[in-house]
Each structure stands twice: as structure tokens, then as C-alpha cells.
């Protein structure tokens, strides 16, 4: 099907009608840039999250959980692979350009990866609260996303994020039923991660947010944030933990938890790479990138040829 849109109005009418844009469609440049920036930040966040997860493989208690952390690390790096490819196909930056920008501190990734995970309790809080926050926002994007390749890849990512969240909940339950020391450790992690996880959704959406207008996001930030609050506040309380929000109150009229006013300064600092752990994280990721240059060289065209890994030797396996 050939299609093109003479004006932005035509294009927006197409989007409002539930139209899906494909990579080779002649989309308006502003839309291309907005979709690209959104997917690039998502890809960066998966990669940065995967690298932190990797740090915990040797420190994870017990073989079963260690293997699950290994699987989660592979998932996050895999999500990065999927998303960098979808982003690269928009023709704004190549995969390598995106990676180099990330490691040079020139591009953004989610606020939660600008903090340091200090204890095992932090890892549990991340898998439970942060993966759930990511899942809620990804589900909302998936539901109505106008960019076809992103929507299709999100289906796979969402299924795997569900696995991460269930892992987190399973670990959280074990800790909740554990010793006083374990419970205290998790409470301290909750104190550290509650607000960053909540801020992952961002401040209330602007009325002229193009991400909403072009159906890249389908729900406003404050709606998603509220969904997370209503789900996790009662759940954490039911396990006997205290929500670190002194102004929080139960709104009996609306039947909802209200966490009180939110300080957005920490979020702004992370977006400017000025979070508590931003520089170490970026440096670590950049070091990792340069340390693995030999792997990329070995897997490049020349390297592969030198190693005799030729083409065409592998059968397709038939149909």
C-alpha cells in the first residue's frame, strides 16, 4: 500500500484513526524525530539496566536466584538489541552512533539507572518496583502505539518484563516473611527506591505533548503514575512495610492513595546526568564498551573472515 500525507493535518487524522506507521512510510520529520528520541531513550535504559543487573550475578544469593538474575540480564541486553535495531531503522542515527552517544554521556536513559544499588534489598526493590513501573508505562505505549515496529517489539518485551516483576515479587515475599534483619534491609531499600521508581513516570503530561498527540504514548504520565501508586502502596503495606511518604493520605472520597506533593528536582538532575551515580554508571558502561572492542573486532566482517566463519555454509532448515 502506497501512502503519503500531504499535510501534518492529514497525517494526524491518519494517526487519530488508529493508523500504524511503518519504517518505510514517508512520515513527517518531526514525528520521525520524536519516535526516534523515545525509542533511543528506551533502548539506552534497557542497556544500562542490563549492565547493573549483570553486576549482581556474582552477588546474588543461591543458585536458583543467580540463574534467574542471569536470565534477567540476558533479557535486558536482548531488549536493548531489539530496540536499537528499531531505532536505527528510523535512519536518524546508526546503532553504533547511539551507543557512542550513550557512553559519552550525550544521551539520556531513565532516572532509576542513575542511582546505585547498594544491597540485595535494592535489587529486589528494583525488580519489583522499577520493572513494574517500566511494565506499566510500556503496556500503555503498546496499547495504542502508532509506530508499528515499536508496537510489535514491545509485545515481546512486555512478556519478559512480566517475568522480571514476578521474580521481584517472589523475592520481596521471601524477605517479607524473613527475619527482622531482612525486613529492615528491604524497608531501607524501599526508602531509597520508592521515589525514584515513582518519578520514572515523569511529571504530569503537558497539554501539548506531541507524544500523546501522535499516539506514541496513549496515556498521560500522571494516570500511569497513579496506577502504580494504587497498586503498590496497598501491596507493600499489606506485607508490613512503610511507604516513605510522610504526606501520604487515603482520600476517602476518591477511594485512592494520595502520595502528596512530589519533588521533581532529583528527576531533573538525572536527566542532566547529575544523579547520585550517573557519572560512575556512564564511565563503567564506557569502560565496558572499550574493553569489549576486541570482541566486536573479531565479529566484524574482517575478523569473521580471518576466523574462517564464511557465509552460506549454514542451511536454512527448510520449511
Amino acid at each position: 500500500m502506497t501512502r503519503s500525507w500531504a499535510t501534518m493535518e492529514d497525517f494526524e487524522a491518519f494517526l487519530d484513526d488508529g493508523g500504524l506507521v511503518e519504517a518505510d512510510d514517508p512520515m513527517p520529520d518531526a514525528y520521525r524525530q520524536a519516535v526516534f528520541a523515545f525509542i533511543e531513550m528506551h533502548a539506552n535504559s534497557e542497556l544500562m539496566g542490563g549492565l547493573t543487573e549483570r553486576d549482581w550475578i556474582p552477588k546474588t544469593p543461591g543458585l536458583r536466584h543467580k540463574m534467574a538474575v542471569l536470565a534477567k540480564t540476558q533479557d535486558e541486553i536482548g531488549h536493548g538489541h531489539l530496540l536499537y535495531m528499531v531505532a536505527a531503522d528510523l535512519g536518524v542515527k546508526t546503532r553504533v552512533e547511539m551507543l557512542e552517544d550513550l557512553f559519552a554521556g550525550r544521551s539520556r536513559f531513565h532516572n532509576v539507572f542513575h542511582y546505585r544499588a547498594v544491597t540485595w534489598g535494592d535489587q529486589v526493590a528494583i525488580a519489583f518496583l522499577v520493572d513494574a513501573a517500566a511494565l506499566i508505562s510500556q503496556q500503555a505505549v503498546f496499547k495504542n502505539c502508532s509506530y508499528g515496529p515499536y508496537k510489535r517489539i514491545l509485545r515481546r518485551i512486555i512478556a519478559e518484563e512480566g517475568f522480571h516483576m514476578r521474580l521481584g515479587e517472589d523475592r520481596m515475599l521471601r524477605i517479607a516473611e524473613g527475619t527482622d534483619r531482612q525486613r529492615l534491609m528491604f524497608q531501607e531499600s524501599l526508602n531509597r527506591w520508592f521515589w525514584p521508581a515513582l518519578q520514572l513516570f515523569g511529571p504530569d503530561s503537558e497539554s501539548d505533548d506531541v507524544l500523546l498527540r501522535w499516539h506514541i504514548k496513549s496515556e498521560r504520565n500522571e494516570v500511569l503514575r497513579d496506577r502504580w501508586v494504587q497498586r503498590f502502596v496497598p501491596m507493600l503495606q499489606s506485607y508490613g512495610f512503610t511507604i516513605p511518604a510522610p504526606d501520604m493520605r487515603w482520600d476517602a472520597v476518591r477511594h485512592r492513595w494520595d502520595v502528596g506533593s512530589i519533588d521533581w528536582e532529583p528527576l531533573k538532575r538525572t536527566l542532566a546526568q547529575g544523579g547520585p551515580d550517573s557519572s560512575r554508571r556512564i564511565r563503567e558502561a564506557a569502560d565496558n564498551w572499550s574493553r569489549t572492542a576486541w570482541v566486536r573486532a573479531a565479529l566484524s566482517d574482517n575478523g569473521a573472515a580471518a576466523n574462517g566463519a564464511g557465509n552460506g555454509s549454514t542451511s536454512t532448515g527448510g520449511s
Binding site: 500500500m1 502506497t2 501512502r3 536470565a71 540476558q74 533479557d75 536482548g78 538489541h81 531489539l82 535495531m85 528499531v86 536505527a88 531503522d89 546503532r95 515496529p149 510489535r152 517489539i153 515481546r156 565479529l299 566484524s300 566482517d301 575478523g303 569473521a304 566463519a309 564464511g310 557465509n311 552460506g312 555454509s313 549454514t314 536454512t316 532448515g317 527448510g318 520449511s319
Partner: protein, 91 residues
Amino acid sequence: MRVYEVFVKKDGRNEFRHVGALEAATDELALVLAREVYLRRAEGDRLWVVRRDHVVAAPGDFVDPNADKPHRHHDGAAVAARRMAARQSPS
């Protein structure tokens, strides 16, 4: 590096389905990366990777004429209406 399109098939139930793309230096490495990125939980048991520059894609409007071929369909509505009428007026 080359771009490959990835196709996956599950059992005898479905056709090969396009699941996404990846970049790799050789066919062999493309298969390895496809397995690790798209099939970590055995989402399929058959896997094809096809170099993007080997895909023959129809030009944009190539299929358009077939969107207007009503004589290739029959909705059965007229027959159903006559049957219904026959049932309602016993002979």
C-alpha cells in the same frame, strides 16, 4: 555489518512470521544472535535469517489492484435470506 530480517516458526501450526531485524557480520553470526535475541525461550523451533538486501519487496502500489475484486468473494447473504424465508413459510 549487514542487516538481517528474522523469521520464526512455531510447530506445524503457523506460517513463518517476521519478528524483527538484527545486524551481524556473517550469516552464521546472524543465526546465533537471532537465537539469543528472539528465541531465548524457544519462541519457535525453526529460524530463518534473510539479508535485508536480498529481500525482494513489491513496490508500494503493487498489490493495490486486488483490493477491488468483489467478484472474487461471495458473502452468501442472498442464499441465507432465501433459506430463512423458506423456513418461515412452510410449504
